[in-house]
Symmetry: C2
């Protein structure tokens, strides 16, 4: 019998859920607006609704359980979400209990941080497949991260490991959203990168970005930067290289600490591809101590958002194998 | 029957070896000058000699094996040392084979990086005893580090993890011995700290350091700095606080990545105690993202050099328990 699990990607805007067949990938995908402003209970109802739709599509008794990737902090037991950004009212929500009471206790429910499930998805279905261990960086609104070690999530002492976005490269640098000076998110987070681009490009009338934004540089998006770079815009290319160099510095630090030499980069900003990743590689090498430089690589994740759902489902397969602790 | 192992601390100046009783500590300790300039073979002979002396003191068949903490890089199989600083000619030395051929193959021989064995020793015999997981920092000639995770060494992908001394806090900062800009070693390594103190104290005629060095600030040592600070020297206290703040920045970054919230500090420079560690704590908290700040602690290792021998011996106990992979 084939084995299935449901992987849920709980985001501030959309909830996506997929029926995942072990080792094969997504068999069916459903999604719905989060409508986060209505508070936790209706959102949990919507998650349960998506799961029911997928369960009726599959033969329900072939579903091993439900994995959920959620923003914010997840407890060690993988049951609860707290401090979820973009989900108003989610101070501490036991998502496991809440879903099991809605769905009957038939399904084990396992919750994990969204960057961590993206890492797990990459490890078992994406760019991480060839590697036992890698560092995942997601470049989006913020800069997320995960450590995949020996094919599973390195969780640290309480489940919060992997926050590479809040590591510093300049102790007197600009503050990120958490108030950490010189954190890499304060350079590559979407808002920060756009602002930096604005200042850099203001005095570059040769840049196509002025035309793309209709003259209003407040409208710069990472996507525009990528398009301008592709079109050969030297000014924009240098902005992306600046960002890449910053990313490389922090990757060097992380590699010195972890001796994990493969880096996988995903998230919206990573669309800018080599314009960021090539300079990132160049500066990463300089920041890794010589003894640890063999085999360094930065690879772009080719899967999109589905990597989170795949990883969330994989939590269930891991649990089923008895490889991870989680109450059910 | 009691269980014993021999723990060896291979240093550039001295080789120390201890007969360690499991869970009890050091039963007997011997040491000899390394005379590293004579090259690897005579040094390995000296290690074998120390082991023989300890083995004849104990009943030899109660010795489970030999653990060795060595400077430089150790391979994943824990057999070989390479790039050992202060050991001329040690490019790649298979210490396991070399010792087994000298001692007969009776003893399993396990090699590990010196900072890592210090971490393991701290975990099972020292300040790390109360914690499952902690970050070890050794402040000496260089700045070493180890990650102890769930009571054992986190080794990374190839065995080289824990190099916190080469993580950067300023991508445009001063270079450390490995050529990494703004690495914490470039602030707290013994030579770097002494030099910084020299410049800072040059224009502070009120500092007792001028008297302690006989007017030659080239003679500043970390020990002097500690004594001057203890004597109430405000100028020296501010130098140590400067160093402590730098240390705190990098600890913050490491904690964000690892979610390991206990830090144990050992090594010669840590003698300066709270003059460094209190400012380190204050700045560490600012560099840890708010969600990971509960339970942060910096603790000084109360064991001295023996922590390395204890940890080296503990490698053997771990191996004997089947908890770690190592060929024998």
């Amino acid at each position: 019998m084939n084995t299935f699990a449901v992987g849920v990607d709980l985001g501030g805007t959309m909830i996506k859920a997929a029926l995942v067949e072990r080792g094969q990938g997504i068999r069916e995908l459903v999604s719905i607006d989060t409508l986060a402003e209505e508070g936790p209970e209706p959102v949990i109802d919507r998650i349960a609704g998506l799961v029911r739709r997928l369960a009726s599509a599959a033969s329900a008794d072939s579903i091993l359980g439900i994995g959920i990737g959620a923003p914010g902090a997840v407890n060690w037991e993988r049951t609860s979400v707290s401090r979820a950004p973009n989900l108003p009212g989610w101070d501490v929500i036991n998502l496991q209990t809440a879903l099991q009471s809605r769905l009957g206790a038939a399904f084990p429910v396992i919750v994990e941080n969204d960057a961590n499930v993206a890492g797990l998805g990459s490890a078992h279905y994406g760019a991480g497949l060839p590697f036992d261990s890698f560092i995942l960086v997601t470049l989006g609104t913020g800069v997320g991260g995960a450590i995949i070690y020996q094919n599973t999530i390195f969780r640290g002492a309480t489940g919060g490991a992997g926050e590479i976005g809040h590591m510093t490269i300049d102790y007197e640098g600009p503050f990120d959203r958490s108030g950490v000076a010189g954190a890499i998110e304060a350079y590559l987070g979407q808002r920060f990168l756009s602002r930096h681009a604005r200042y850099q490009l203001l005095n570059r009338p040769d840049s196509v970005i002025h035309k793309m934004t209709g003259g209003d540089l407040e409208k710069i998006t990472p996507k525009m930067l990528h398009e301008a770079a592709l079109a050969g815009d030297a000014a924009v290319q240098s902005v992306l290289a600046w960002a890449g160099h910053k990313l490389g510095c922090i990757l060097g630090s992380a590699i010195n600490l972890l001796d994990i030499r493969k880096v996988i980069v995903g998230g919206g900003v990573s669309a800018a591809g080599d314009y960021i990743l090539k300079p990132a590689y160049d500066s990463m090498v300089r920041f890794v101590m010589p003894g640890l430089r063999d085999g360094l690589e930065i690879i772009r994740e080719h899967l999109g958002n589905e990597v989170g759902m795949l990883g969330a489902a994989h939590l269930v397969f891991e649990y089923h194998d008895g490889h991870v602790s989680a109450s059910s």
